[in-house]
């Protein structure tokens, strides 16, 4: 569950970006559309608690996130939010499996080997687990990125332009996968994109414009 109210963000002395309020119940998904430069990524980072809004309140799972202090915030973010980045980035010196295990380790949760295994199976990356992350194809890397975001069974999954580097077939696969996995753990799924292909996939959508 996530609601935002009157959220604004201001970079230095620039005009503040004002964001539409959103209100998602359990398992709801949302597509946020908009052209480049309207603040899509900024909005995603605000919801993902990577940035603090200059004005307004973001409430996740009934917790007003602006009341969380340093370490609590870091912990809350690690345990409740999974982020899929535009270009999948990893810790390059670690293998696929180690990169996945890293997510639970850094979130301070205990390691569960079978959970990792079953997640890898459902994303069809179980045969890649021992490989070096650099030797995977883009599509494979994208799936590992999704797996990593799901490792801690977050209640909120955020994806930043997840389809930008994928062809139509893989794009469709990725959307299906995200929907399926989000439904499995009853998480909210929020995708920001300028990719019109995704428009048909989600009922719930808002479009950001320059204000």
């Amino acid at each position: 569950m996530i609601t935002t109210k009157g959220v604004e963000y201001q970079y230095g002395n620039e005009i503040a970006l004002v964001f539409e309020d959103i209100n998602l119940q359990k398992s709801d998904s949302l597509l946020i559309l908009g052209k480049s430069g309207v603040g899509k990524t900024t909005f995603l980072h605000l919801i993902g608690l990577l940035l603090m809004p200059t004005k307004g309140v973001i409430t996740i799972n009934s917790i007003k996130t602006n009341t969380l202090l340093n370490n609590d915030l870091v912990k809350f973010r690690a345990q409740n939010i999974g982020v899929i980045y535009q270009k999948p980035h990893f810790v390059n010196s670690l293998s696929v499996e180690e990169n996945l295990a890293l997510a639970t380790y850094l979130a301070g949760k205990s390691q569960q080997k079978d959970q990792l295994q079953s997640l890898a199976q459902s994303l069809d990356i179980d045969h890649l687990l021992n490989k070096n992350i650099k030797n995977l194809s883009l599509g494979e890397q994208q799936r590992v990125g999704i797996a990593r975001a799901l490792m801690n069974s977050p209640s909120l999954i955020l994806a930043d332009e997840p389809s930008s580097s994928l062809d139509d077939e893989n794009c469709q696969k990725m959307v299906d996968l995200l929907k399926r996995e989000a439904a499995k753990i009853e998480a909210n799924l929020i995708i920001v994109t300028h990719d019109q292909r995704l428009k048909m996939e989600f009922e719930n959508q808002i479009t950001l414009t320059k204000n």
Binding site: T41, T42, H45, G48, L50, L51, N71, V74, K75, R77, A78, Q79, V83, Y85, Q86, K87, H89, F90, V91, N92, S93, L94, E98, A101, L102, A103, T104, Y105, L106, A107, G108, Q111
Partner: protein, 410 residues
């Protein structure tokens, strides 16, 4: 999954750069450890053997040579002095102990020293098993000799003239081993010790050989030639009763006799100050290498942090605290320091082992290889400290990373 593992993986994924840092550290550590170890052991041995000897009286020549030959058994002697003249000096009330030694022969490169029982008691040599020499050609041998040459009590051997192995053999008279000394880590471990009488008898025999000059001399002063005054010794080790002896006796000997008096403390100081220049230069060189290694750790971590800025932001977003990542990078420095130290340590011990073998063969001089001294602990601490500082400086950058900006930038 833990910090050690991540850190180790980061280290091995950049093995070339990190190997260079480790290798540099190893060289620095190896050289310093070697120098300090050898320096300390030489110092210990030199000081131990010098203990209780305030002055050495011998033939004129280089005082350092006299000290090296008569105390450390390293150099060749300066020449002979008359035993009776030496005994005159020994009568001085300021002199507490005077030990005559006579050298000139050796067995398989090990020196034979003719002396009396005071020599052994001075070095606290204990004869066990066996007994002290009594009759001529009875000998007591040092522990290392017994060990290396496999000599037992009752064995006999023929000495050869001179202090190296190529000398002419004195086959006519054979020495008999009557006692073996317990090891005591001083110069006597590598000596064959016998009575003065033995050495004189061996060489008397030589001098009887017909020789035109000798025959001439015999005709002129035949009567004096066979008295006891003929007997020569190589040197006399002297301990004074009190420091007052030091004031006059050496000066007196040097000015008024054809002998010289050398003071071991002064000569050894001189020797060490001569060697010291070289040792200091090497030490500074080694410090420089360690410093460069620290610099290399710094540069490699600085660069890798720039490359891995995104990784760091990613880990921060995934719940890592900045302190945790700071420690992660420090660990990389620590690993480099530890590995560098370990390799350097093994390197220095290997060289020391090879040196010890050579020193044993050519100087009969033992180094202990497997000891861990206070110096080694200091080197360890310095090595780890330098690596940690070199890692800490660039790692402070962790605290400046803007997570959102970094993640959005790519």
């Amino acid at each position: 999954m833990n910090l050690f593992k991540i850190s180790w993986k980061n280290l091995t994924s950049k093995s070339l750069t990190n190997s260079l840092s480790i290798l540099l550290m190893a060289f620095g550590v190896g050289i310093i450890s070697l120098i300090l170890n050898v320096g300390r052991q030489l110092d210990e041995k030199f000081t131990k053997n010098i203990k209780g000897i305030d002055m050495v009286v011998g033939a004129k020549g280089s005082p350092l040579q006299l000290i090296l030959s008569s105390i450390y058994q390293l150099d060749s002697p300066t020449g002979n002095i008359s035993f009776s003249e030496a005994k005159m000096i020994a009568r001085n009330p300021f002199i507490k102990k005077a030990i005559p030694i006579a050298m000139g022969d050796s067995y398989l490169g090990y020196r034979i020293v003719g002396t009396d029982s005071t020599y052994l008691s001075h070095y606290q040599g204990i004869v066990s098993p066996g007994k002290l020499f009594e009759k001529p050609f009875e000998a007591v041998i040092g522990a290392s000799i017994a060990d290396i040459l496999k000599l037992k009590i009752g064995d006999t051997f023929a000495s050869s003239h001179g202090l190296d192995q190529e000398g002419e053999k004195h086959e006519s008279q054979k020495y008999k081993v009557v006692g073996i000394l317990t090891p005591n880590n001083s110069v006597v471990d590598n000596l064959i010790i016998t009575s003065l009488q033995t050495v004189w008898e061996v060489h008397e025999h030589d001098e009887v050989k017909p020789n035109a000059l000798l025959l001439l001399e015999e005709n002129t002063d035949h009567n004096q030639s066979k008295t006891e005054t003929d007997n020569a010794i190589t040197a006399m080790l002297v301990k004074f009763r009190n420091p007052m002896g030091l004031m006059n006796i050496p000066r007196n000997i040097n000015a008024n006799t054809n002998m010289q008096a050398a003071l071991p403390a002064i000569e050894i100081n001189r020797l060490f100050s001569l060697m010291g220049v070289g040792i200091d230069t090497l030490k500074w060189l080694a410090f420089l290498i360690i410093f460069v290694s620290g610099l290399s750790v710094f540069v490699s971590l600085y660069n890798s942090l720039k490359e891995r800025k995104y990784e760091m932001a990613l880990m921060l977003s995934m719940g890592a605290s900045r302190l945790k990542l700071f420690i992660l990078l420090l660990l990389e420095g620590l690993f480099i320091g530890l590995l560098g130290y370990l390799i350097g340590f093994i390197f220095s011990k290997t060289i020391l082992f090879l040196m010890a073998k050579t020193a044993q063969q050519s100087y009969h001089y033992q180094f202990s290889v497997f000891n861990y001294s206070f110096d080694d602990i200091l080197i360890f601490i310095a090595c780890i400290f330098i690596c940690m500082v070199a890692a800490a400086i660039p790692s402070i950058g962790i605290y400046k990373i803007n997570i959102s900006k970094t993640l959005a930038s790519q």
